[in-house]
Symmetry: C2
Subunit: 475 residues, 2 copies
């Protein structure tokens, strides 16, 4: 593989590689304010595709979109105790409107549970009004100390679903339904294998009874919490007085969930699949699936390229025909950097031999087909193969980077040589979590649904183990 | 027409009617913070449809979406003098992040010219980098004193396009191109006739050289500025040092435009077409185009209704089949309130006679067709007719409510009896604008592209007239 000289290799310095390619591939750009980034055209187009897929999934599972204000009065944010303890240290406060100081300061939403609760408490009266299944797409602000593009911004784009239900069972089903939507999205669209399970008490969302998560492993072995789904029980319902008259004529509190995914999913896509030449986008989510590059000036070649482009577009395969004056080499690099899954080239020699060349972005593999073959079919097949192969490679790498620890010493050895997912038994005691965290900041990722009995004892304290937990260093 | 008793008639009290139906139709809801509204499911779904149509138009004219931070440092906002004078009195200031007071206060974007300029000044070096044609969908905050749902919120959803060009001509063409996109959208999708033209110096956007506008007339004769497109010349380019190396090897300032449309377009749709039973949505933009209501419990009826629904959906006509236990009358009112353009009913007597009934929302007109006829075709034809008729009625009303004034007395008489668009000649002097404004707050709407020579003299001062201007009371 020819290495792009302008960017740091991902094996040399992964962090620098990431910062390099997100800018060069037109995903993100910097601003003069710390922690605030510009989502550049290529990045935003990928996010739009992600939104389309997810929004469709949400609507098919009965959800509707609404839009809530971006500002939350302090008194509303303070209503649920655990929630505010989690968020107060990191919210941005608006204290002045026009020339006047505000009577009550307003925070920019770090998340919108409190707004949804306030709304639901007003519009829900009877069991007939339930469930309420609303979602919103917006940006939120959290005043983080350490910031990095896409991974930890002070502002980021996301989606937050907030639902209320008449029964505990319905709400719990919803929590898991949406976790499954996310898993489906990661695996079948982003070609990213994810570990699904429940967060420990220590790591769950501020105010939730249970938090479920999709955890992904990046190329460098660092973990990324990629989507979460929370079951709130009646905690917020009690704080916000969300009651309804049930069929049995009794007033009851609702049961609640929330679930969200952010532009971190875009970071994950880059950090799982990208290589030293730039982004490698899964065809299912790539804004441009195919780029066609005619080589040399030739009328016949130009005509064929135009026809191929039209044919692909007519079949809903997004396609760019680049017949600009730039050199073929320059174009190759540019579209590789941007992650376009498939390149079609047609030069004079190929043309004279009745051939056309297809080059896969993921493997850089080229293949020739006859000009009189069904090019549409070849493209469709190749895109499917790329999608499948990307998931397979990522899955294999993830498996290879999953280790087992039976003692604190194992944790230390693993993390110092090759970070990744670390499976280990755990007694359920937060003190053991704290102890493990002291080793390079290793945190519990989740208690996976798929449990294994690695040992009978907790890898930290040696007491009887309750669960297998997967651990790792996180972004 | 049967009147919905729960809402104020639009002829009795238009403002109250509007506030009633936006809430009852699930368009907007109130929050505890003045000027901040919830975009409820029906309202947001209409906005989503508007976004889809417009976004497609923007992309077809070569634009790409990006996302800029929601916060602007004070120093950046202050860079262009006229711009800041226009916006400073109405921005919300973030002064605190987490527990700390910020070194420099940040305002929530009231509009993003300054951010785009800052970005463009960094990424544009050569004529090869031009034009840059970027747009963003977001919400903005303006600390208005008087607030009303959809019409004047302290936060509102919109789209803002910002483009830079190598030449004055290109930038001016872009300004008018996007004004035409908006006109097309209003006329052909929202069924709203709009008056297009140029704003006077007094009414143009803060920092613009010229502002162009689409002005619409509401049912009550009040005008609504519905979309604007601005030509900036090189004003911001100079303030932000946006220079490029041109083909002739000289450093030049870029020429700039911006253009935007807000959820006011949704207010316009409601205030032009709505009636005493609720919303009347143009089929081109209605989230649900058809509702099917089976009357009475009958297996055959249920089956036919399901088949019709499937057939419509298979042909991309969004459709709801409501076979819930609610009474037919209740359902009729509900979907009328929500503005669904076409209702299909099937009851026992109809069924036995081999008929099915279609009822238009806009005219409440019912028509029967035979069950063995092509229902899909009948629906498609009727939806097209509704769309066409809605535009025609709105156009006729607008024409009827367009008056001519030749003196200040004429202005007074017109505005006291029947507000609307008032055509009058104008000398070009801002003092005459100020004088006319003293009559019930009448403002110039625009200098229409389509000029008429009503008189030789200014209707205010009697001096030689320069233009015909359209005037009116505005939201």
């Amino acid at each position: 593989m020819i290495k792009n000289k302008e960017i740091t290799s991902r094996d040399e310095n992964f962090a620098e590689w990431f910062t390099n390619i997100v800018q060069k591939a037109g995903v993100v750009d910097y601003t003069s304010v710390k922690g605030f980034y510009i989502m550049a055209p290529n990045g935003y187009a990928i996010w739009e595709n992600m939104q389309k897929v997810l929004d469709d999934m949400f609507k098919k599972t009965g959800h509707k979109n609404i839009y809530m204000p971006m500002l939350i009065p302090e008194s509303l944010l303070l209503k649920e105790k655990e929630h505010i303890e989690g968020f107060a240290p990191e919210v941005a406060w608006v204290t002045q409107g026009g020339a006047n100081k505000l009577e009550e300061k307003l925070c920019i939403r770090p998340t919108s549970e409190t707004l949804f609760c306030d709304y639901y408490s007003k519009i829900v009266k009877s069991y007939r009004d339930l469930p309420k299944l609303y979602n919103q797409w917006c940006s939120v602000v959290r005043w983080e100390k350490e910031t990095r593009p896409l991974l930890r911004g002070r502002e980021f784009l996301w989606q937050e679903g907030h639902t209320i239900h008449a029964t505990e069972q319905e709400a719990k089903e919803e929590t898991l339904r949406m976790l499954n939507v996310y898993r489906d999205f990661f695996v079948n669209y982003l070609a990213i294998p994810v570990l699904v399970g429940q967060k420990t008490e220590k790591e769950k969302f501020a105010g939730a009874e249970n938090t479920y998560t999709c955890e992904a492993l990046m190329y460098n072995g660092v973990c990324l919490q990629s989507a979460t789904s929370h079951y709130f029980g009646q905690k917020f319902a009690k704080a916000f007085d969300m009651k309804f008259l049930d069929k049995d004529n009794k007033l009851k509190y609702v049961y609640q969930t929330s679930w969200g995914i952010t532009t971190r999913a875009l970071a994950a896509t880059i950090m799982v699949h990208g290589d030293d030449n730039g982004l490698v986008l899964p065809p299912m989510i790539a804004p441009t699936k195919v780029v066609i590059i005619p080589i040399g000036k030739d009328e016949n070649i130009a005509k064929i390229c135009k026809n191929v482009c039209k044919k692909l577009e007519d079949n809903n395969i997004s396609c760019i025909l680049d017949d600009s004056d730039k050199s073929p080499g320059f174009k190759f690099s540019q579209y590789e950097m941007e992650g376009v899954p498939l390149r079609i080239e047609l030069g004079k020699r190929d043309y004279e031999n009745g051939k056309i060349t297809l080059v896969r972005r993921d493997t850089q593999e080229g293949m020739q087909i006859n000009l009189d073959e069904d090019i549409l079919k070849a493209v469709e097949t190749t895109l499917k193969t790329i999608q499948k192969d990307m998931l397979e490679r990522a899955t294999q790498r993830c498996e290879k980077m999953t280790y087992t620890a039976k003692s604190l010493k194992d944790f230390e050895e693993i993390i110092s040589s090759h970070p990744g997912f670390i499976k280990a038994m755990w007694c359920g005691d937060i003190n053991c979590e704290e102890k493990i965290k002291k080793i390079n900041g290793i945190k519990s990722r989740c208690i996976p649904f798929k449990q294994e009995q690695l040992d009978e004892k907790c890898a930290c304290c040696g007491k009887k183990a309750k669960h297998m937990v997967v651990w790792g260093i996180q972004y």
